[in-house]
Symmetry: C2
Subunit: 544 residues, 2 copies
Amino acid sequence: MNGLMMDVPLTIPSILKRAAQVYPEKEIVSRWSDGSITRTNYGTLYKRVVRLMNVLRDLGVQPGDRVATSAWNSSHHLELYFAIPSLGAVLHTVNIRLFPDQIRFIVNHAEDRFVFLDRSLAGLYAELQPSLTTVERYILMDDRGTPPTTMPSPASDYETLLASASDEEYFPPLEENMAAGLCYTSGTTGEPKGTLYSHRATYLHAMGACMVDSLGISEKETVMSVVPMFHANAWGLPYACAMTGAKQVFPGPHLLGGAIASLMEAEQVTLSAGVPTVWNILYQHLKQHSQKLTSLRVIISGGSAIPRKLIADYEHDLGVEVVCVWGMTELSPIGTVARLRGAMRNLPAEKQLAIRATQGISVPCVEIAILNEEGESLPWDGESTGELASKGPWVASGYYNTGKPNTALTKDGWFLTGDVAAITPYGYVEITDRKKDMIKSRGEWISSIDMENLAVEHPNVREAAVVGRHDPVRDEVPVVAVVLNEPRPQEEIAREMRDLLATQFANWQLPKLSDIRIVEALPKTSVGKLDKKVLRVQILNSET
Amino acid sequence: MNGLMMDVPLTIPSILKRAAQVYPEKEIVSRWSDGSITRTNYGTLYKRVVRLMNVLRDLGVQPGDRVATSAWNSSHHLELYFAIPSLGAVLHTVNIRLFPDQIRFIVNHAEDRFVFLDRSLAGLYAELQPSLTTVERYILMDDRGTPPTTMPSPASDYETLLASASDEEYFPPLEENMAAGLCYTSGTTGEPKGTLYSHRATYLHAMGACMVDSLGISEKETVMSVVPMFHANAWGLPYACAMTGAKQVFPGPHLLGGAIASLMEAEQVTLSAGVPTVWNILYQHLKQHSQKLTSLRVIISGGSAIPRKLIADYEHDLGVEVVCVWGMTELSPIGTVARLRGAMRNLPAEKQLAIRATQGISVPCVEIAILNEEGESLPWDGESTGELASKGPWVASGYYNTGKPNTALTKDGWFLTGDVAAITPYGYVEITDRKKDMIKSRGEWISSIDMENLAVEHPNVREAAVVGRHDPVRDEVPVVAVVLNEPRPQEEIAREMRDLLATQFANWQLPKLSDIRIVEALPKTSVGKLDKKVLRVQILNSET
């Protein structure tokens, strides 16, 4: 027997409509390439989205069609976030930090019919255009950057199209399971894979982000998403902010230090979200300039682990709370949030910090487990480690158009994250490694992340990365690559490092002295993550 | 094209499972009839629910079966809130304040197979039993009250059944649109009607309650629901608290003044919810005893309008924020929440109070409109008034088993609330009357609520109610029934009242002097609401 409740689908346009009805005056601020600022609001956003939907119709966009965006965070991008899914088409956010070859691959793989791009990126697309076989037209959005010297074609101007479009409102009926968004993971292995979001997943994720214990987005916040809108829907913030009428501040392309600080101050940002690198650079900037932020209250940090010291520094020096989250493109992306609870608030400061620096507990709608090699669920005892797995209405069931059956799920329906983790009895996830980065030595595992965390405590070491290399006796042995603050002899560093590592690792786990290598820099992916795949090749090459 | 997201249904047992996994230690406190306290937690709750599901299976409960509860707020009731829906059966919460005839009607109408009841209510059911034709067994839960002198039969003891049940865990697969709960509106007109909640609606409503700008339920709150669990799922709080791991405090049958105050203090309650009467009595109690509440932070008030002065008193005298909400059984029940936003926070105190005393703005998932007699949507200008209508995934599409097609929805799919309201340009709902209580005089409408609000400003008037009576010339004229603080002559009161009303009502809207009536008391429904249907009959009788 079914309940007698209305069959109202959870869709993205319903978020926009309510924002325009209930919060028409609440602001949306964009800063452009040249530093200039423009302001709009949810009432005007709605009207422009209505026109933009008609632009898309005039272009011939059909439900299910993929329409790409290639843009920094701005009100234009927000318009596309609503207009494309509201038409039943698929918003494909292209990561503009990818290498050109990767962009070519994903635009062709997605079979995008149109690309909406920041004008300053026109040169890149002019170059790629001959090989983008499905794209029919490029729509250029003025981001007030350097005028392009070359242009893809055929091209149209965004504002010109909007100005000539009808303002007739028509929102077609949608079903909640329809595709709404597409985002490819840059991945350090294999080809990029596309996660295809549904309206339902995106709507539920936005509700989740507005829950007190999750991201806590609310009307009273002024939110600046430093995380790009081409990266996992900017963690869902544009939709969550619209759902609750929060003022949104879009920083454009300038995301570091002073550029962020000045915009935060000017717009009185209260909550911001981004990766640890951004927060580290912002903190250094503020410290150098003895500057404080008068409105900032909360930083949401994700993408990789943030040093505990930085969490403490933000709190002590700036009065800003740092909330650690963990997620993946395939999880829409929020999976866990690290907040203290109950009696934990009475623990000593160091212990509190340790808990807050974990990945945290799963948010409502997301179920988690750690699985052994046989796919069996392991106990939450803080010690057993297994592959972190996830289930839920905003978790991917597979990848877009792979041409083969989905392999992402286990027979019990779990999505395997590729992270190796323990879970405490209170449900806090502690990721110990990426599965592919674990080092297996004499049949036992060594956590590369644990070793890296210890290695950077050496006073001369700025960065460290640990990968395995084949060893005829021990199967695999760790290689520690370090970037130094200032030049020092390899032999000295190696001895000191071994002594340091020996404080927490067993003898059989320690690297050989010759496997402690000084490097100029560590290889990074296009999104700034350590690229261990490339590092392994470099290590291998240095041996031959 | 559909998204590639997991098809995971939104169900009530998933709330329980996560609470037990992630918040096993968080407390659930019950106070019983005799004032004694028991404590359990989400970990233990889960184990007892597993057993209770087996008790229900042993009794022969099948998916879709209705199982009634007749109980005050307690951990037992919470166990039933999870166990019955987790089995695919329907939790029918019977309002124990209804008149026996109404209880007979709804238990028979729902065709309940079993009734789980507080032992102190056994006498009532012993009396009703002969006419409860579908009930197979009564399960008595010890609420530590006066032992019953008569008992329904056959009867079993709750704890005895639990002790002998298997502890084998089995949660059957559920679909999210399956029926989960049933609640009848007491209604001042016609027979009680049943709203049949689905898992999906209940789950989404719980998520909504945990959003910052809605009820703001979170792990850090200690929540006491004064609103009974037999009344619209206690506004969804038991599920919202479990979803976020909030400590729950169940007050049992003693809900007034000192009983509430002492429990709030003992358990350090931070957030509570109930009707204005409860808050008025609590405030008077605290004032008389010069008592403060050291932990209480937020009161959620709904069910009827709360006097502005009481909102201000709570804030000034006790430092407690009062948040007004509006809802209906048919809306699961939360529809709107009144919070200030943006620039409103800079308004003068009186204006802020006026906004906070409205019904507020619609919460995400709930769409609202005001409709004229032709069903056309009226502008949100703060002046146009029409019938408040609602749409959304947790809004009723009809009533249970009425034997006729649903009449609750308009041709455009709106649920008509029966309330007459204006909506401000910022989306704040201001209910001016119940539709059936509007008075039509010379073709124009008079708001009975506006007249009542003004009438109680007379210094001698404790309560006032306004209803219409037929008039040969003007169609309908208002009759003002007042309860006085101390005896005074009718003629004096009538003259003073007319002068008072004349400050805000036009001459043609004013009652005749003889229609200002002094009464001993105003008739109330079983849930304490003013019963205008009875008042109209009394007025009519007093004229014959």
